[in-house]
Symmetry: none
Subunit: 213 residues, 4 copies
DNA sequence: CATGAATGAGGTTTCATTCAT
DNA sequence: TATGAATGAAACCTCATTCAT
C-alpha cells in the first residue's frame, strides 16, 4: 500500500488521511469484488460497502482500476510481510527443516486467502501494464526467497538441484494449484494431505542422498 | 460443440447450418475474447469479427454467455479429441514410455493453446453453474486418463505411487502452470526444458526402483 | 373479412387461397394476441401459431397491423352475422319481447367473446385512422339495429323514449361494461343476474305506461 | 403518489427530491404516453419530455413500468382527493340532491381527464399483478362511496334499490362510457345532455315513489 | 407457392465519472 | 472535506420486414 499507492490520484493533501481512507476502501470492498468479480461490481456498490459516498471514493482514488490495484498490491504486501517475518525466524534451522516449514507457511497463506488469490489470478489482466508488473515483482520476490532456501540447502550439501529457480517456482506454483483447482482437490484430499504429499514429492526430488532414504 | 450446444437457443431448424454458423462464431470470436477479455468485448465487436450482423449472431446463439460457453466447450472437445486419439496409439508402449509421451502431448497442447487456456481459467466463473460443471467434467476426464496410465505403470511394477489421483492431477496442473505463469517461466526456461525437467521430477517421484537409476 | 381485407397487400393472385390463408391466420393468432397483447406478440410467434413460415405470413398480409385489423374486423363481422340472423327471427315479436331477447343475445355474445372484446378495446388505437373507422362503422351498425327495435316499440306505443340513439347506445355500452369491468362484476353478480337487472332497468326507463306494470 | 411509490427503486435518499422528480416525470411524460401509447413511447422520448437525461430518469425510477404505475396511481390519487373533498361538502344535502351532484362531479372529472382515463383502460394490463390490484382498489373505493350515497337514500326512504352495489357500479361505469365511447357520443349529444339524461335514467330507476313523478 | 436466413435500427437499462454545493 | 445528483455513452438484446432460394 505504501509504495505503490503513491501515483494514484487524490484530491487530498493529508497523506495520513489518504492512507486511512484507502485502507478503508481496500478492507471493505475486497469481499465484494471477490464475490461478484471486478466487472460486475459497480462503484456505487463499492461506495456503499465502504460507507462512503461516491464522491468521497473518487477523492482518494482516481478510477475503478485503482481500487483493483490497491486490493491486489495490498494483498501482495500482506503476503510479503508474513513471509519476511517468517524468514527472520528461520536462520538457525537446517535447510530441510526450513524448507518444510516454508512450504507449510506458504501453502497455509494460500489456503487462508484462497478467495483473493483466485481473484488476483482472474483480474490481474484488468490492470495496466505498469501495475501488472508490480504484482509480478511481488511474486518474483516470494520465489526468490524460496530459491534462497533451496540454495542454502544446496550449499549445505543437503539438496541437489539442477535448476533452483524452476524448483522454487514449482513449489510456489503448487501452492496456487491448491486454490486454482479447489473444485477438484477438495474432493480428493484435505489441505494437510496436500501439503504433506507435495512436501514429500519435493524432498524426493531434491534430497542429495536420496538413495539412502 | 456437438454434445454441449444442444440447449443453446437458435431460431433455425437446420442443424447443419446451426453447427456451421456456431463454428464460425467460435473460430472468429475466440481471439477477440482472449485478447480483450469477456466483459470488455461487446457483441457488436463479436458480430463484426464474425462477419455477421448482430441479428444473425442472435439467430444462432441466445446470449453472450452462450458464446463464452461455446468457446470453452469447443476447446475442451478439441483437447479431448486429441487426447483420445493419442490414447489409441498408446497400448503397446511400456508405462514409462507411455507416460513420457503423454506428458509431452499434454504439455504441448497447453503450449499451443496457451491463450485460450488462460482465457478459460479467467472466465469460467462467468458461466452458469450447469455449464461450469460441464467444463469441469471435461477436465476430470483428462485427469482420469492420465491416472489410468499411472495405474498401468503401478500394475506393471514400474511405478510406485501412493495417491494416483493426486499424482495425475499434479501432472495436469503443472501443464497449466506453464501457461498461467508464462510471465515468469518464459524468462527462465524454454518449453523443452520445462517439459524435460517436469518429466524428470515426475519420474523421480514415481519410479518403483528409484535407487537403481 | 370479405369486404375489409381487400386492400391488404398480398403477393398471391388466387383470391380463394388468400381468403383461406387469412382465415387460418386470424383463427390461430387471435388467442396469442389476446393473451400477450399486441405489442408483446412477435411475428415469429404468430407464424408459429399459424403453422406457417414468416415468409408465407408476409405473402398474405402486408404488416403486423394488418393482422390486427383482420382479427378485429373478423370479429366484428362475426358479431354482425349473429345479430343479422337474430333480426330475421324477430319480426313477429312484440317490441318488448324483441328487446328482451335482443339484450339477451347481445350480452351473451359479449360474454362468450369477452377476451377478444377486451382486446379490441385496448388495441384499436394501434390501427390506422382508416381501419379504426371501419371498426367504428361496425359498432354503429349494431347500435342502429338496436335503435330500430326501440323505435318500433315507440311506434307501437309500448316505449316512450326521448333519445332513442342514446338509449340504444346505453344498452350496447352496458353489454361491454360486463366485460370491461369483469374484475369487479364477477365478484358481485352472475351473468344471468346482470342481464336480468340491466333488462329491468332499461324497461323501467322506457316503458310507456310504467305505472301500470 | 405518496402511498404507492414506496417500493419503486431510486438511488436517492432525499425523499423530497425523489417526490419532486417523480412528479416532474409524471407531469411531463403523461401526455406523451397518452398520445403515443405505452409500448410505442421510448424511454429516450420520456427523458427528453421530462428535460432529464436518461441517467437521471433511472435515478428516480427503476423501470419503464414504474413510470406507468406512477402515472396511473397519481391519477387515481387525484381522483380520490377530489371525491373525498366533495364528500365533505355533502352531509347536509338530501340524498336525491346529493346523488345528482355526485353524478355531476364524477362525470365531470371523467370528462376533464378523458385522455388519461382512456389510457388507463388500455394500459393497465401492462402493470404487474400487484400494481394492477392497487389500481382496482382505487376504483372500488369510488364505487363504495357512491354506494354509500345510494344507501343513505334508501334509509331515508327516497330510493328503492335491490342491489345498491350494482347500481353504484352502473353509475360509475356510465361515466367511463362517456370517455370510452366518445367517438360515438360526441356526435350525438353534448356532455351536459349526457349527464342530464343519465341522471334522469338513474333517478327513474331508483326513485321510491316513481309512479308519482 | 413457400421458406427462413439475414438485417440493423432501436428498445431498455447500467455505470464510471464529474462537479456544483 | 464530503456529498450525491446528473450525465450520456454504450451495453445486451428484440423484432418487423425483406429477399434469395
Amino acid at each position: 500500500m505504501n509504495k505503490h499507492s503513491v501515483k494514484i490520484r487524490t484530491y487530498s493533501n493529508d497523506k495520513s488521511l489518504v492512507q486511512k481512507r484507502r485502507r478503508q476502501i481496500v478492507i471493505n470492498s475486497t469481499d465484494l469484488f471477490v464475490k461478484k468479480g471486478y466487472a460486475k461490481t459497480s462503484m456505487r456498490e463499492v461506495a456503499q460497502a465502504c460507507n462512503m459516498s461516491i464522491g468521497t471514493l473518487y477523492h482518494y482514488v482516481g478510477s475503478k482500476e485503482d481500487i483493483l490495484y490497491l486490493i491486489i498490491s495490498y494483498t501482495a504486501d500482506q503476503q510479503r510481510e508474513i513471509i519476511d517475518s517468517f524468514f527472520n525466524t528461520l536462520s538457525n534451522l537446517k535447510p530441510t527443516q526450513a524448507l518444510i516449514r516454508l512450504i507449510w507457511t506458504l501453502y497455509q497463506w494460500q489456503h487462508v486467502n484462497q478467495n483473493i488469490v483466485l481473484f488476483i489470478y482472474r483480474e490481474t489482466k484488468n490492470l495496466s501494464q505498469t501495475n501488472r508488473q508490480l504484482v509480478f515483482d511481488s511474486e518474483k520476490y516470494i520465489i526468490a526467497l524460496t530459491e534462497e532456501v533451496l540454495k542454502r540447502g544446496v550449499e549445505a550439501g543437503e539438496f541437489k538441484i539442477n535448476n533452483t529457480t524452476l524448483m522454487a517456482h514449482n513449489i510456489i506454483a503448487l501452492s496456487h494449484i491448491w486454490v486454482l483447482r479447489r473444485w477438484f482437490l477438495r474432493k480428493h484430499c484435505t489441505w494437510e494431505e496436500y501439503v504433506r504429499t507435495q512436501t514429500e514429492y519435493v524432498l524426493k526430488i531434491i534430497r542429495a542422498n536420496e538413495s539412502l532414504t
